[in-house]
């Protein structure tokens, strides 16, 4: 009797694993950054709900905190998403590893709104796999009351006068890019000596750094705890809303531009719905709602030229070519360089 019971229980367990998850209604699975879509707060447009109402497709929306985390989840193989929104260099990596499928652009007529500047970019040179979602630049945020003169370039982050008033970005790719800017080295270099030089520069800076931060930068800059911090232009606008003494400059040595773009993974179950969704995100009013919510620049010309757009012609997120220094997009680095970077970053942090 006992043995039979055990057998029955074991059978139930196995069957339940096999039976779970049968779908009925058409469903679209979306994987995006956190806080990266207009969600209906304060009377804004709830984009996912609007899509569900328009097309009768249920949207299941999950969020991730950075490209690498997203990659490990997708690469693990246990999940299936229809739309992903990673950044440039990660898209290049996903394409290289054959994890994305080509988008049928005849199903995405709104692609015509995408600014020519954001087409044929190095991570997707033939515009086959991705459609830009947001774009932006990193820059140098400073507190006007704490600096003696407005900084002109990244070298201010090595200025001994601001000892312990400097915040540094806590992610290796961006931190090394800043060091490489000062040294005049290309961000996408694969030379070991260049990365060594970058690490030496970061170690030299370390005694001056108050903290390595991610989103803690918002509090610290708003409260005037630090004088200088590198962060994204769009986020500077949020900080300035809470502290008017903050200023922003595009450092003269050059900056990184990022493009977060929508793409469809190879194992997507519902490619047609994914293309509908991508097209929907490019609708002028949907793009506008997202641009107002996220505060990053939009690659959508219909949004940028919309007179109702509160950030229209904002000199910080839409700088003219004259005020913008050299910009570089990150490319996917070879594994060898990625390993070297993460080892060197550990060395810097432990220095």
């Amino acid at each position: 009797m006992k043995k039979n019971l055990c057998l029955v229980l074991a059978a139930v367990m196995l069957v339940s694993i096999a039976l779970f998850g049968c779908e009925k209604k058409p469903t679209l699975y979306v994987y995006n950054w956190g806080e990266y879509i207009s969600d209906g707060e304060d009377g804004s447009l709830d984009v996912n709900k609007a899509f569900e109402e328009k097309y009768g497709i249920k949207v299941v929306y999950d969020t991730f905190e950075n490209n690498e985390v997203m990659y490990s989840k997708i690469k693990g193989g246990g999940v299936k998403y229809d739309v992903l929104i990673p950044s440039d260099y990660m898209i290049e990596r996903l394409i290289a590893e054959d994890m994305l499928q080509k988008i049928d652009f005849s199903n995405v007529p709104n692609y015509k709104y995408i600014d020519a500047k954001y087409k044929k970019l190095p991570y997707d040179p033939n515009d086959e796999y991705s459609v830009p979602y947001t774009v932006g630049c990193i820059g140098l945020i400073y507190n006007k009351t704490m600096v003696e003169e407005p900084p002109a370039g990244w070298s201010a982050l090595w200025d001994a006068r601001y000892e312990k008033k400097i915040l540094m970005i806590n992610n290796p790719r961006d931190a090394f890019a800043i060091a490489h800017s000062v040294l005049g080295i290309d961000y996408n270099t694969t030379s070991e000596a260049d990365w060594q030089a970058g690490a030496a520069k970061l170690k030299e800076q370390k005694p001056l750094v108050q903290a390595y931060v991610n989103d803690e930068v918002f509090n610290k800059m708003e409260l005037g705890e630090a004088a200088l911090a590198p962060y994204y232009a769009g986020d500077f606008l949020t900080m300035r809303d809470n502290n008017e003494n903050l200023g922003f400059v595009y450092p003269e040595e050059g900056v990184n531009t990022f493009v977060d773009a929508m793409c469809i993974p190879k194992n997507a179950a519902n490619k047609a719905a994914a293309e509908l969704y991508i097209n929907f995100m490019l609708e002028p009013d949907v793009g506008l709602a997202n641009a107002e919510y996220i505060y990053y620049a939009s690659p959508n010309t219909a949004v940028v030229s919309n007179p109702e757009y509160s950030l229209k012609d904002d000199p910080i997120i839409y700088p003219d070519d004259a005020s913008l220094p050299k910009t570089t997009i990150f490319t996917n680095l070879p594994t060898r360089t990625l390993n070297q970077m993460s080892n060197l970053w550990d060395e810097v942090k432990l220095h």
Binding site: L14, S16, I17, A18, F20, G21, T27, Y29, Y31, W33, G34, E35, Y36, D39, G40, E41, D42, D46, N48, K49, V60, Y61, D62, T63, F64, E65, N66, G76, G77, G78, V79, K80, Y81, N214, D215, F218, N219, K220, E222, L223, D235, T238, D241, N242, N243, N267, I294
Partner: protein
């Protein structure tokens, strides 16, 4: 209580509760700054109620916590009763050692190994993308089980083995004897185990992260994904509400326990 010990106690309470007090204060802030208090408002509470994604994540988290606490309590109690009956102590302690592994293991090891197992099993049964509610539930039950067993076993040791035998002498079936006599005696242990399983499941991030699938995001995962932009004060509002609810629950259970004890004392 002498004055120094009063001061010491007060300091301990300040260290424990100051962060929560600050968080509750800022949940009433009228701007989105998490550093400057601009004025009192209930804005973030209404934002929170309108935030569909967070509400969904909250429901997911609660469903998961209740289910995994319930199942792991039943399974864990049964396991503890079984273990307690074993005569061979070496066998018992080695089985205990094995069940304790999920507790000793770093979460990241448990998480990744379970993910690999699920994906592997999924391939065998022909469903490659298997991760979802079922897998995260199994994972949570797995890491909650040892805590339930560990809190039930000592209670079983304390109860007199002859109690159940006496009940059977008086005509109870073994099953009835367990529910009538043994279970009431070990109830405090079962409740502790269940509460622990509930809270562990509620705030687990790493194991959940690796074992969940599309459409089943828990609250810790949702909050953690906000760290690129910033965690907005509606999360403070949510955390404050959770804190208050748990506080009320604790006070109620303590009051109920105290009442029960005083009743028992009167009877004696």
């Amino acid at each position: 209580m002498k004055i120094p010990s009063k001061i010491y106690t007060a300091l301990i309470f300040i260290f424990l509760y100051a962060p929560i007090a600050v968080m509750i204060l800022f949940s009433f802030n009228s701007t989105n700054s998490t550093g400057l208090f601009a004025g009192f408002s209930l804005k973030w509470y209404s934002v929170l109620l309108g935030n569909k994604n967070i509400m969904k994540a909250l429901t997911n988290t609660l469903v998961l916590a209740i289910a995994s606490a319930g199942i792991s309590t039943v399974v864990g109690t049964a396991a503890a009763v079984g273990l307690d009956k074993w005569k061979k102590s070496w066998l018992r302690s080695s089985v205990m050692g094995v069940t304790n592994i999920p507790m000793m293991n770093p979460d990241i090891v448990t998480g990744i190994s379970m993910m690999l197992l699920f994906v592997f099993m999924g391939q065998i049964v022909g469903r490659k993308e298997i991760l979802g509610f079922q897998t995260i539930l199994i994972a949570h039950i797995t890491f909650c089980l040892p805590y339930v067993i560990l809190s039930v076993l000592p209670k079983l040791r304390q109860t007199d083995v002859h109690l159940a035998e006496a009940a059977q002498d008086l005509g109870c079936t073994p099953v009835r004897a367990f529910f009538k006599v043994v279970m009431p005696a070990i109830m405090p242990g079962i409740l502790t185990g269940m509460l622990m399983a509930f809270t562990l499941s509620l705030d687990d991030f790493i194991i959940s992260y690796f074992t969940t699938g599309p459409g089943f995001q828990t609250l810790p995962i949702a909050i953690f994904s906000m760290t690129k932009k910033r965690v907005k004060p509606d999360m403070y509002a949510l955390s404050s509400l959770i804190f208050v609810v748990i506080l009320i629950l604790l006070v109620l259970t303590n009051v109920a326990q105290a009442r029960g004890e005083s009743k028992r004392n009167k009877k004696n």
